[in-house]
Symmetry: C2
Amino acid sequence: MAVPIAILQLGKGTVGTPLIGQIAAQSGVIRERLGIELRYVAIAGRIEVVYRPAGIELSEWPRQLEARKTTSVVDLIDQIARDVAHPKILVDATDAEGMVALHARAMASGFHVVTCNKKPLAGPLADFQRLRAQSRAARRHYLHEVTVGAGLPVIGTLRDLVDSGDQIISIEGCFSGTLNFLCAGLDRERPFSEILTEARDRGYTEPDPREDLSGQDVARKALILAREAGLAVEPQAVALSPFCEVGRDGDVGSFLAAAEEMDGGFARRWREAAGRKARLRYVATVDQGCGAGLREVPADGPMGCLRGAENVFSFSTARYADSPLVVSGPGAGPEVTAAGAFGDILRVARAVACEERGE
Amino acid sequence: MAVPIAILQLGKGTVGTPLIGQIAAQSGVIRERLGIELRYVAIAGRIEVVYRPAGIELSEWPRQLEARKTTSVVDLIDQIARDVAHPKILVDATDAEGMVALHARAMASGFHVVTCNKKPLAGPLADFQRLRAQSRAARRHYLHEVTVGAGLPVIGTLRDLVDSGDQIISIEGCFSGTLNFLCAGLDRERPFSEILTEARDRGYTEPDPREDLSGQDVARKALILAREAGLAVEPQAVALSPFCEVGRDGDVGSFLAAAEEMDGGFARRWREAAGRKARLRYVATVDQGCGAGLREVPADGPMGCLRGAENVFSFSTARYADSPLVVSGPGAGPEVTAAGAFGDILRVARAVACEERGE
């Protein structure tokens, strides 16, 4: 008999929908291999919800959605906690603000939490510490591999280093696929405005690319890594230099039209770096503090070699002192992000599969 | 109250001793952070053993060793299974042959197994399948991160990819730090015999470097990855071309003395590759089958960029199709290997820490 794990998923958009698809496709294998049945009991969007305490038929879920009026997410958590006795996971596949209290309440109600949403972890330090403390007190997993580097094994690797007593000297790398796409294009002497437009057309940037260029997303990832490494850092303490100075006035169209004015400046900076056999990358660093900015790096190092919309994370530690442990690859995209969340769900499933059952 | 996890460790050598040291140093943090007490109950070498069902005082363990005459490891497993009710882990930090039955028996007796010893996984396919089946049937973790790439996150990454339903297209890389040290030295136009001697002096090679040059160790790692990826491969099916042809006649000294005769041949091959803007690397590949051999790779790719005694693993999958997920760094050494085994122990500890306790 397979042991059921109930899943309540918030968010059915870019990441949530492929995650449901991946779990539906793989549920038979998980049952056979781990003796675990991953059973969606609720899927909630902003205005619609489906709740079936005995399990949702995944081939039909979009047709079963109903207007959410009556059911707040808190009510849903309480209801599932009452209705479902076996292990439970809350998956946060939204990018909503203000989810800290909800995550904490879910753990208090017996849910493990897998979050793709990085906002609860990148806000005030007190929120991060509250989630950590609640996870320990309630003995629930609080997993968020996807919040840095999508499906790449970054958070899990860092957690193993820290928990096994290694000393983190620094974590350094390129944490934004979007910004690295721009850097790699500038390496090939293409005009900045042209690469920026291509990146937007490919869906690599936010609808307003100024959000990417501000470096805020990189700062959030650096902050999460710093906190995982044990540093007590507030968001305003991240030393952030934006990729380039962009005003907030005017709409996206007029910003893109004016981007050509920056082409000359970027071309010159890249030429100067090339003259020193270096490359420019948008580098984030976590050591005593944390920060991010455009920096010259050796052309033949792990950052200089990075091409396209990829990420790289280099961990220098007491044990990896002479040469770092390096993870690189695509750090964004719906399928790999969903797969990263699936990996966290599997960590819970493997734990449940091996529970000591009163032997 | 911290939940105890009992550890029985086989092997107190190159990896076993630093592992005990790391766990001793970190046990307070693990207790505080996970609510788990990692408690060594037995440490067994080939001829000596210490067994304390209530827990060994780790600052004193070498002084407590006694001759092992009476206690076979099987007896020890049975005795611990009788004496210790809480969760238990068998750590195999030996490189002994013939451990398959012992690992299986330990799982049947309630132990999770963490093995640094790759031999049980790289023998006949039936042995590998037996260990897998026993792990499922007994619902015990069977973890072996360290068997490929030491502390680098290789096996765990592959397992997440496979379990989440990704399709492995290929795994490719340099799996031997020793052989890569030779390749990187040849890149810098140093004579083969000189680099080989340096590698041996630094302790990078086996006492008889012909064992490294045969490629057998790389073949074993490729085999383990292939099996983790779901391929049913027997050891003799690995297509292995040695780093160079070495006879087995004569002692190590006369082999090293004669290695100079190979300097010219290696220098020529490397010059020819450089002329094609390529580098030579000892590349292992897992796709439909698995194999290893010296191959030309692009100088600016992840393998061509690899320097010194490092490893690199590139995973190309359905989801990582355009560019691979890549893990690289030092893939050998006592401290990082011990840390990798510690990571596996932590996976068990985190699972136990979050067990559903009759809520």
